[in-house]
Symmetry: C2
Subunit: 254 residues, 2 copies
């Protein structure tokens, strides 16, 4: 029996503030970890400005290609919040004030405070399901395979948690990290490539970091089967030990 | 005389480790700020895995659309470093060991340490200019309008600095941030939208944040002309002061 198709996802980050450098995105890392834990493979991320045409084009490119598309940002009450309008346009459905969303918002604010700007946050593409959050009460939504979430990380996380029970999930990827220390990547790259060829069901990544004038390396072994991951990791540990024993773990910096 | 065309850019972040959540990207924020300081508008970011077909497709989609494309990641000596190969393929040119790159690398390591894996890092698409970095010596490169950089943030920054003198730059965007405090977005969103309509050359963003159970808001005013930015910011400050004076700066949370 062939393995089941992987469950895949893309993330669309919507916001001028990320592209201008004003806000440093935190949502990519949060969504990546959350989906990995569910066995959903995040395959692509895009960041686009608060412009309807850009959001529609990105959504339509992504939603046909991946099992799910998650978006963050652009759901607030101000004029630069255009995500709901863009999603409705991408799906070709009307954007209507949703009584369910109004009811949720009235759990937090009084009806006399529900002005026109706040009512914008209750506009939901026709046919969407709401995705609630306990923090601000103004909901995100899911339409088709697209899950539309707020940009504020705490609210986004609450919406991820709320949307999760209705997602199809796959087999979780297991990963094991090998601390290589200061042995340079170039010293083990050839042997690591051979190990990667010997373990075709395993993904092997080598990740240098640089701090205070020194490099350090980690090798990450990832796969769906725990025994496969352990076997590949053990083979790599042996390979590294052999290089150290042969004195090939250093090079002379001139 | 019409204003000159803006100088635009896209960033392509290459790396399984960002998509898996293992590494939290820092390069998007660094590149965004760096380009904003040069007057180059970052218009789109994509994150793709270490797969040649994905990198080629993204590069070809982006390089026709923006003045520049910057990429980060995938330039190392290991088997999962496939960026140079993908860029050569996207441009339809051979990927050749470059004597200039070898010479740079030999500034740091001895020739007996220049093994096959390290020589991979000297493979440069034919016709590209090198982009040097003082840290690891292994260069990035520029081919056409695409600037290809390492993924380690310190090395990536060194390459950005090295590539910058040859970039066409635009008029820098000036921004002014107004601290709104805890006045909710929904209290000023209608009036802010009216201000945005009155200042068409100015981009106005409203950014809530949430910490320890409290919201705080900032309004950011951005434009190319300092007087325009000051005028819009002053109008928004007056509008907020008027709302406070009318007692419309709070709502009752039920």
């Amino acid at each position: 029996m062939p393995p089941p198709d992987p469950i895949t996802a893309a993330l669309l980050v919507i916001g001028d503030e990320i592209l201008s450098g004003r806000t440093k995105d935190k949502n990519i890392g949060i969504v990546a970890e959350f989906l990995a834990d569910l066995g959903i493979e995040l395959r692509e991320v895009r960041v686009v400005p608060d412009e309807i045409a850009e959001i529609v084009a990105a959504l339509n490119a992504l939603r046909g290609r991946y099992t799910y598309v998650f978006s963050t940002g652009g759901l607030g009450p101000t004029h630069d919040d255009v995500t709901a309008e863009a999603v409705a346009k991408a799906f070709g459905v009307p954007l209507l004030e949703d009584p369910r969303a109004i009811a949720l918002m009235l759990q937090r604010i009084k009806s006399e405070d529900l002005n026109a700007a706040r009512r914008r946050m209750a506009r939901i593409p026709q046919g969407a399901e709401l995705v609630e959050n306990a923090i601000s009460k103004a909901p995100g939504f899911r339409i088709g395979n697209v899950i539309v979430m707020a940009g504020v990380p705490a609210i986004m996380q609450a919406m991820l948690v709320a949307a999760a029970p209705k997602l199809n999930t796959g087999r979780k990827t297991i990963s094991k990290t090998i601390e290589v220390g200061d042995m340079p990547e170039g010293a083990f790259a050839g042997e690591l490539s051979a190990e990667a060829a010997r373990h075709p069901r395993i993904s092997i990544g080598s990740y240098p970091s640089y701090k205070d004038g020194r490099f350090a390396n980690q090798i990450v072994v990832r796969g769906k089967d725990a025994a496969d991951v352990e076997a590949a990791a053990a083979a790599i540990e042996s390979m590294l030990a052999a290089l150290r024993a042969e004195g090939k773990d250093k090079y002379t910096i001139t």
